[in-house]
Amino acid sequence: MSTRFTKNAARNIFYGGSLFFVLVFLGLTFHTTRALPERDHRENITEQVVRGKQLWEENNCIGCHTLLGEGAYFAPELGNVYQRFGNNKEAIKGFIRSRPPEGVPGRRSMPQFNFTDEELEALAEFLKWTSEVNAANWPPNIQG
């Protein structure tokens, strides 16, 4: 690099530029958190949805599935599974309930978690709430 561009100038760009964009990012974050309620419909986060999220986490569903496109790529996207299953919570519950404990021979398999009915209802409620988040029309189609 040319000698006219000094190390001090480079240092100032680093510290000044970084600080500036940290502040910009914090500002944007502030704005985003203000704008979110319209899109995430937090008024619908019931106790069941909260419980569902907890079960989602404590069984590490994200280790096989994506949810709104993030997670693992081994099993179907679940952000829109509520719609894929015909807006039917019972279908979701039935699917999870009916996983064979020893798996399906040769096929990618999902564990049998032995959930209670109350737990299944909570998970289904959580997936229903998630499917209603305004995710800018993603995924592109029903297959996720």
Binding site: N59, A72, F74, P76, G103, W138, P140
Partner: protein, 466 residues
């Protein structure tokens, strides 16, 4: 052979890093097989468990590598002994044992039992990608990080404050600070996701780039003998570009998770510039090596330094750019394209920089002099090519799988279900698995290179070029 005796604490860190790396790759191969033989090891080791082990071992071995790098280079830069070598060794064992217990927990009990056992309900932080560790482990990580930062920080404060040391320290402190967001887990999934990226993105496309840049700068000074002033100026420009683009660049993860639409513009614009610092790193490394004032006898370390600069640019810069614009990401989000990019970027930028500093430091730490003997270096360079070429093919096969997946599942007139699509692209997963086996062979050659005997170590630097 060490300039400062306390640099020796780096050695166990490097050995642990390599051992955990081997574990990571073994679990990668299990995952790769489960991709095509769906019920392989089911239900003993379900896919999600193997994946946690694979990714968490990756993070942990990189952290061991970063810490070893700091213990090695900070005293040399500061021109004084490490503040407390004993503390460094205690931290080593605490971290290793906590890590081993956590991985055993993943493998031996169902994840929900691990959650119950560690009282996740009191302070729920588990079950999010990369942050699967029980809360108690996360607290342990923070304690380890604090003790480590204190130790290195005191060394820097009391000694010479070079640019490399200061940048490395900012990077490491940033790593610890951003990790604190792992403890924030709101009930609202959208908020949860928003701040989850403050750990993941602001690590790899933020503060870790400072660590990467400073380790690279250190090794380049050593192996090329180029004037420190020149190298430090480059370092500032590179990390300046990294943070200026990378911070708002976080927006490339805020397109489809419920966040406002303006992120599609902001995220696309800023992240499209993120390849710049990675490209500058490539220019930097090649420029310095071309302008070298001596021929350092450690050819392998120079190869790794050039390699990480190139592969980091390809994996992060090129493969990152490929899917970072919102209209493209709309189709590629959460597919094998993401996996392709994740693999090459992590390997190229972070695995390889750790292998670079290990390659440079190990001969000193093992009392071999400035460089290992000829035969050992040749073997290490074979390992370099085997692993790196294998990773290129892993990436290419995953990219091919990803393009087909996107087409069949998201673009075509009659979109097909996920599992149906996966079954049609199995061939590419088989080829990825074969490339993975080659990667493992490369890793075995790498480890074996440390056991080469009867080889004359190179004790003196070759005469200066000028």
């Amino acid at each position: 052979m060490l300039q400062y005796q306390s640099q020796a604490v780096a050695k166990p860190y490097f050995i642990a890093a390599i051992a955990l790396f081997a574990g990571q790759v073994l679990f990668g191969l299990i995952l790769g097989l489960q991709y095509v033989v769906g019920d392989f090891l089911f239900p003993a080791i379900p896919f999600n468990v193997a994946r946690m082990v694979h990714t968490n071992l990756l993070i942990v071995w990189l952290l061991f590598g970063f810490m070893g790098a700091a213990y090695y280079l900070v005293p040399e830069e500061a021109e004084r002994e490490l503040h407390s070598p004993v503390l460094a060794l205690i931290v080593f064992w605490v971290f290793l044992i906590a890590g081993a217990l956590t991985v055993l927990g993943y493998l031996l009990v169902p994840y929900s039992s691990l959650a119950r056992l560690t009282q996740n309900e009191l302070f729920p932080t588990m079950g999010r990608e990369f942050l699967e560790q029980p809360t108690i482990t996360k607290i342990g990580i923070v304690v380890v990080a604090l003790a480590f930062l204190y130790n290195v920080g005191m060394t820097v404060l009391k000694g010479r404050k070079t640019v490399i040391n200061v940048i490395l320290l900012i990077g490491l402190a940033g790593l610890a600070v951003m990790f604190l967001f792992a403890f924030y887990n709101p009930n609202n999934l959208v908020l949860d996701k928003y701040f989850w990226w403050w750990v993941v993105h602001l690590w790899v496309e933020g503060v870790w780039e400072l660590i990467l840049g400073s380790i690279l700068a250190f090794v380049l000074i050593k192996v090329t003998g180029v004037d420190r002033e020149v190298i430090e100026k480059w370092l500032y420009v590179i990390i300046g570009a990294a943070l200026i683009t990378g911070i708002v660049g976080t927006g490339h993860h805020y397109y489809w998770i419920g966040t406002p639409d303006y992120w599609q513009w902001l995220g696309s614009a800023f992240s499209a510039l993120e390849p710049i610092p990675f490209f500058m790193m490539t220019l930097f490394a090649f420029n310095m090596v071309n302008r070298r004032r001596r021929d350092h006898p450690n050819k392998a370390a120079t190869l790794w330094a050039l390699g990480t600069a190139v592969m980091g640019f390809l994996g992060a810069g090129v493969w990152g750019f490929m899917h970072t614009l919102a209209p493209i990401n709309y189709y590629t989000h959460g597919t094998q394209i993401t996996a392709a990019h994740g693999h090459m970027a992590f390997y190229g930028a972070y695995a390889m920089i750790v292998l670079t500093i290990i390659s440079y430091a190990m001969p000193h730490l093992r009392g071999q002099g400035t460089a290992a003997g000829e035969r050992q270096q040749v073997m290490e360079m074979w390992a370099f090519w085997l692993m790196t070429v294998a990773m290129v093919f892993i990436t290419l096969f995953l990219t091919a799988a990803g393009v087909l997946q996107v087409w069949l599942q998201r673009v075509s007139e009659v979109p097909q279900p996920f599992i149906a699509v996966q079954q049609q692209i199995g061939l590419f997963y088989w080829m990825r698995e074969v490339a993975g086996v080659v990667f493992l062979i490369g890793l075995i050659v790498y480890i074996a290179s440390y056991f080469v005997r009867g080889d004359e170590a190179v004790t003196t630097a070759q005469p200066a070029r000028v």
